[in-house]
Amino acid sequence: MTQREHLRNLALLGLLALGLLALPQGLSVYLTSFALFTMMYVVLALSWNIISGFTGYTSFGHVAFYGIGAYACAILVVDHGWSWVTTLFAGALVAGLVAVAIGYPVLRLKGPYFAIAMLGMAEGTRVVATVWDGLTHGGLGISFPSVENSTSTYYAMLVLMLITIAVAYLVAHSRFGIRLNAIREDEVAAEALGINVTRYKLLAFVLSAVFPAAAGGIQAYKVLYIEPQAVFFVQITIAMALMSMLGGKGTVIGPVIGAVLLYTAQELTWVNFPTAHLIAYGLFIIVVARFMPRGLIGFAIDRGWVRKGMVH
């Protein structure tokens, strides 16, 4: 990609940022929340995409990091009186350390084994959050003191989303990203070419862990009550994967589009058709995974609407 294109993309991101910055002024609290959660899913899908889309390691337990971030925020704010913005960094740090600790051994696993190990990891973390009563208050959950938070959390999520998009973009357009792609395509060959695969995989894994943790923290502060069942919910992982896949995993714009489209569609349908909506969601997952493995972006490339290589 040329310098000009980078500049233009930056300008587009800035435009988006400006638009979203002004948004809460014109919107009701509910729509602000809706925008906030949409941005949260953008963050989650993009982060998941770093390890699973760029690097090809399907994480089926990414919700673990989100949950860890949520708990870090809740514990530090409620039990230790930290300011909530600081806890986001702490949560990201904890999640990053956890990612190093588990990523080092688990990233040796391939394909389905890695997926299952991550699933076990996420469920295991949920159980730890339930059992470790002294730290997490177990099944009682943690309740924050009531505060006005809809604008502050909105802006925090906005900043986080912009950072995530920027990081994902930089990764995709750097040598680092190209190496991750090489690992995805053929890990043995990548190593033969002298790429330190262990280090790159671990770095990608850590990167993909810190943003969901921060998002989890913001979410906790927004909802003001967390419990293990809610923040370690398997379907959040599914949503990350599905959104990436819907838009086009392995690209930058894909997960963003997927998250926005899917979350909006869900919001519009479920209020009106509770049970039918869930059945439709199940069918939708099947259809996307079965017929559009390369997502909307892949679809667009196949039709010649956009040029391959442009949509990163």
């Binding site: 294109e5 233009r8 993309n9 587009l12 435009l15 988006l16 638009g19 948004l23 919107l27 009701s28 609290v29 509910y30 729509l31 929340s33 809706f34 925008a35 959660f37 159980v127 339930t130 177990g138 099944g139 009682l140 959950g141 309740s143 924050f144 003191p145 009531s146 006005e148 809809s150 979410q219 927004k222 909802v223 003001l224 009550y225 967390i226 419990e227 069942q229 809610a230 919910f233 714009i253 963003v256 589009i257 926005v260 489209l261 909006t264 919001e267 519009l268 479920w270 209020v271 509770p274 049970t275 869930l278 667009a300 609407w305 956009v306 040029r307 442009m310 949509v311």
Partner: protein
């Protein structure tokens, strides 16, 4: 690329603008919007379903007798998917977007705990019919009122009965989530108060189905009675497995499970002698609350079953709301809040008068399943019959 990104951004913006446009609708002047979000899908759908029944019935009744303060009720009942995050979002929507005049409560202690922050912020009161965990009311909140007995008292009757039959050592078990744990804490407090020794207190994860090892462990710890802070599936599994393993305890008390009609139906004679807790029972001759007979008859006509306490409590809370609105004389939420805080009234559910924390002093009932029927055995003033305890041994039944 440019086009692609621009289209996506345009689509995003268009959606965000279109969504509110589609929602903005003027309400007729003679209508009042009553709304809430309740779990119609997900893990709480089952108990919450009976609350939905009661809400719908109340709305139809109020409308047929001329509405609230002369205005017809337009009911908005959303589904929170049994999820706290969704519930919070929906309550923000109901309050700020749909601008409901009267707010209804969600179901479950956990979701109510989350939602309580929202309605507190917007100063919209409601009577919580689906939450019994007392910490919700211990944070100085001013816009949430309880009607049901607190979770800590769910095992009060059972512990008293255990004391009466000379039990000395009990085990307290329960599911690891907000409400059962509160009820476990309460059971411990009552046991300490009455001088019973708690030899084992454990939680088990949600969806646990096999209690073989836990039951053996309880037996090994020397407990004579089990206080199980459970829902339907776990309580039913525990009772079944006690019998299947031929483990004998003098007393077994579930909390929510035995109160559901399926409990006795599905367990058959294994359910006999089991104690359970009920906020309320459809027993007009014993409880003698005004309007009970009509409520029960109407509910049975509509839904083909007698109302359980979820339905009764919800209906009672709505009656309280109606009475408070009448006293306030308007839909102003501040006036409604003050009325709810001060009013004293009696509903089909019982007396309502809250203390300064907003908690109603409701007394629940402990019942025992005898010949497939729930028979109230505690407190004595409402007891239908004397409790048949200790439970006879499995081999002698």
């Amino acid at each position: 690329m440019t086009q692609c990104v621009l289209r996506a951004v345009a689509a995003l913006m268009a959606l965000l603008v279109l969504v509110p446009a589609g929602r903005a609708e003027d309400r007729p002047k003679n209508e009042v919007l009553v709304g809430g979000a309740i779990s119609q899908t997900g893990r709480f759908a089952e108990p919450a379903g009976r609350q939905v029944n009661a809400i719908k019935m109340w709305v139809d009744q109020v409308n047929s007798r001329g509405g609230l303060l002369g205005r017809k009720i337009n009911l908005v009942l959303l589904d929170d998917k049994s999820d706290t995050q969704t519930a919070v979002k929906l309550y923000e929507k109901l309050i700020t977007e749909d601008k409901v005049d009267v707010l209804l409560a969600p179901y479950s202690s956990a979701i109510t705990e989350a939602v309580a922050n929202i309605n507190e912020r917007y100063k919209m009161p409601f009577v919580a019919y689906g939450a019994a965990s007392s910490p919700i009311w211990e944070k100085g909140r001013k816009y949430i009122f309880s009607i049901v007995a607190i979770a800590e008292d769910y095992q009060k009757g059972a512990v008293h009965l255990a004391k009466q039959i000379g039990v000395k050592r009990i085990a307290i078990i329960g599911e690891d989530s907000l409400f059962p744990r509160q009820s476990g804490i309460g059971a411990k407090q009552w046991a300490d108060k009455l001088g019973l020794q708690v030899v084992l207190q454990e939680n088990y994860p949600q969806k646990q189905t096999d209690f073989t090892a836990l039951l053996q462990k309880i037996k090994a710890a020397g407990a004579e009675a089990i206080m199980s802070n459970s829902y339907f599936a776990d309580a039913a599994a525990q009772v079944r497995q006690m019998r299947e393993l031929n483990l004998y305890f003098k007393l077994f008390s579930g909390t929510v499970g035995p109160g559901l009609p399926q409990f006795a139906e599905q367990l058959g004679d294994s359910a006999e002698y089991i104690l359970g807790f009920s906020q309320w029972e459809p027993l007009p001759d014993i409880l003698k609350h005004p309007g009970m007979k009509e409520f029960i008859a109407e509910y049975e006509k509509r839904y083909g079953e007698k109302p359980n306490y979820h339905a009764g409590g919800t209906y009672g809370a709505l009656q309280v709301t109606e009475a408070a609105l009448k006293q306030a004389g308007s839909f102003d939420s501040q006036k409604l809040r003050d009325a709810l805080a001060s009013i004293e009234t009696t509903t089909v559910f019982g007396r309502y008068k809250v203390n300064d924390k907003g908690m109603n002093d409701h007394e629940g009932l402990t019942f025992q399943i005898l010949k497939g029927e729930r028979r109230v055995v505690f407190p004595e003033q409402w007891a239908e019959t004397k409790a048949k305890l200790p439970i006879p041994e499995w081999s002698k039944r």
